[in-house]
Symmetry: C2
Subunit: 400 residues, 2 copies
């Protein structure tokens, strides 16, 4: 019998706590696990011995945790180096921690890998498992990532409402969506489309660099056709010269400790695009919103599929720890549509660590400003049941 | 037998369509009403004879309309003058429209009043009724306004998630909330507070002008106590000199190093406050979001109380038209808490037109940076059932 530690790292999601509860409930059944510790604020909590005891956590309380957004154990942006990881391993020894479950993105998979490699090197018997999470859906190997479906549902519900708002008071509306390197979440706004003339009419993705003049021309074309235009823009879209519009719109960008440019939380990109479109088209009513943190942490909105899968992935990490040394839990889609289901499988940590996965070519339309039917088939089951809406202004006009 | 026209004006809300459906379903039962026309894009649709026939609208389809955000008949920002209203009355005569149901805010009540006065003056028999809607909750006479409860629920769910996000990755978070002249919606973010140390820790309202230095000092005080601070700020907060911070932030951006005149920037106020707080406190992680149109048009999120009341108000306008000439439907709270209920009553259009209602003094705390228990009692039944969340990082630390 030894102890386990579970922790959450990186940006929060709407279902990262479902994975946490999955780990806890399965760890309680694990014959080799005595105490289940939660490390508060990820690796920082590990080096500071900031542990809470989750072994006898009230199951009813855990059910509320599972539907709470954000990271219930706190998070951290620390990117541990070798020295940092040595400290973590020393603490693990001190606390007799021999099971390590780390819920996070590709940076967290990498941390998990470094600690695992180091444990092997010094001959410390540690089981190290990564449970995937991101709203960006940019992890490799897995079909999709827990956290993505819920964020996809949020942005689609937002665009559905915003498109109806734009019908009511027509003009150009720009919505800037999260996605550090990949367009997966921005692409999911296409789920808002119920009718042929529904927005988002244009979707701009980092995978398809574009000249601002071309974007302006495309907006004008849609506006001339429908009398309005709703566009979804990834925060990380870039010019054909490779420079991000976000960078172009800012004098200086803040950088987090991973070297990632902080893109969210400011209206700079939205305002930059609004001004270019306004001056370039002469359209009077141009509005822009930046969705910000609401996309990843909004109480009371989850995709049922996503929350189920997140919990399964957490449980499965513990199950894998019985027979395997380390790895990352991944999903494989075995059937789609109404029969949608996934199988879980174990993949090496190195298959998830560091690198990211772009939105696939087959999911982007030929013009590079929208998605394909194949993408809608891919994303629909992940976001789960969407609301239905009606608009009456398109009914046939009565004449007298 | 004569015809009726129904229309929606001003900014959309999450339940303005429930009021529309209420008008339609009750008008179908009205013995004096033959055709029920919807004027598309409010007064503009009336002068352009842009009517759709809602008399035989499919009831199943109308149920979807009732849960759809935004204005299903479109909207308009036109403020009709006497000449404009004369045109409307000429169209009413041509179409034999003798019932006018107008769903909107105080400007719409005023339009309804002008048309009603003019009809009386020229001896045209018209029934003119206003059905209230706003997310701002700033209409006079009524206890509260359809549209407010749903927007309140949205901003509270947003702050609930955002506060948990801020626990996970601590720092200062600023959320800018809608509210043209009044702080009602910003105040509703207090519904996010479940635990004593939950945010929003500070709530800034237009009813309480504040010096930026005082705001910075208050943020620092909260940050020193909790290691983090979440603040909700009304878009219309103002300095003690009476000038709105939104205006000040635009002046600021005009003198930036680019020399570019910005649009009425979507994130300008948020970024302005973030900069002041960052430089004023020296805190490293300061983030800001501006919620934008999501607050008023988000698919799939409604307050049950709100949608019920909005529909009742629509129906009641038609019922009043049987025995009265004109007026606005208003609500009076007859009981609160678990027994919450309202009675509807008819008030003169002049009691709603033009002027707005500020957040009451008794709902603002003494320090002017939060709300009172009385406000929570006022707003809770309007937002309806809220999600529940849990955070584990506050559990007792284990020592070894």
């Amino acid at each position: 019998m030894a102890n386990a530690v579970v922790s959450q790292s990186g940006g929060p999601t709407g279902v990262i706590n479902a994975s946490l509860v999955g780990v806890i409930e399965e760890a309680k059944k694990h014959p080799g696990i005595d105490k289940i510790y939660g490390a508060v604020h990820a690796v920082r909590g590990m080096v500071q011995e900031d542990f809470v005891d989750l072994t006898d956590a009230d199951p009813a309380m855990l059910e509320i945790v599972a539907v709470s957004p954000s990271s219930a154990l706190g998070s951290s942006r620390d990117k541990p180096d070798a020295e940092y990881c040595e400290k973590i391993l020393a603490i693990f020894k001190k606390w007799d921690i021999r099971y390590f479950f780390y819920i996070g993105g590709n940076d967290s998979a990498n941390t998990c890998k470094i600690i695992n490699d180091m444990a092997i090197e010094i001959g410390y018997d540690l089981k190290a498992f990564h449970v995937p999470k991101t709203v960006d859906n940019d992890l490799r190997t897995t079909d999709h990532c827990p956290g993505y479906g819920t964020a996809a549902k949020f942005v689609a519900c937002a665009l559905m409402g915003d498109d109806l708002d734009n019908r009511a008071l027509p003009g150009v509306k720009i919505d800037v969506i999260m996605g550090r390197d990949a367009g997966w979440l921005t692409a999911a706004t296409a789920l808002a489309i119920e009718r042929p003339d529904d927005g988002p009419h244009l979707i701009y993705l980092p995978e398809r660099p574009i000249k601002i003049e071309d974007m302006v021309a495309q907006v004008k074309e849609v506006y001339d056709r429908f009398g309005r235009c709703v566009i979804a823009v990834s925060e990380s879209i870039r010019d054909t010269d490779g420079v991000g519009f976000s960078k172009k719109s800012k004098e200086d960008s803040e950088v987090d400790s991973h070297g990632n440019v902080q893109l969210s939380g400011s209206g700079a990109l939205a305002d930059f695009l609004a001004e270019k479109i306004k001056t370039g088209t002469g359209i009077g009513r141009v509005r822009a919103d930046t969705f910000g943190y609401l996309q990843r942490s909004f109480a009371g909105l989850q995709s049922d599929t996503d929350v189920d899968e997140a919990r399964r992935c957490g449980r499965q990490a513990v199950i894998y720890s019985k027979e395997h040394q380390s790895g990352s839990v991944a999903m494989k889609r075995v059937s789609n549509g109404a029969d949608y289901s996934v199988d879980l499988f174990l993949t090496d940590l190195c298959n998830v660590a560091e690198h990211t996965k772009e939105l696939l070519d087959e999911y982007i339309n030929e013009a590079g400003n929208g998605v394909t039917d194949a993408f809608i088939e891919y994303v629909s089951p992940l976001a789960g049941k969407m609301p239905q809406t009606e608009y009456l202004g398109n009914l046939p006009k009565v004449t007298k």
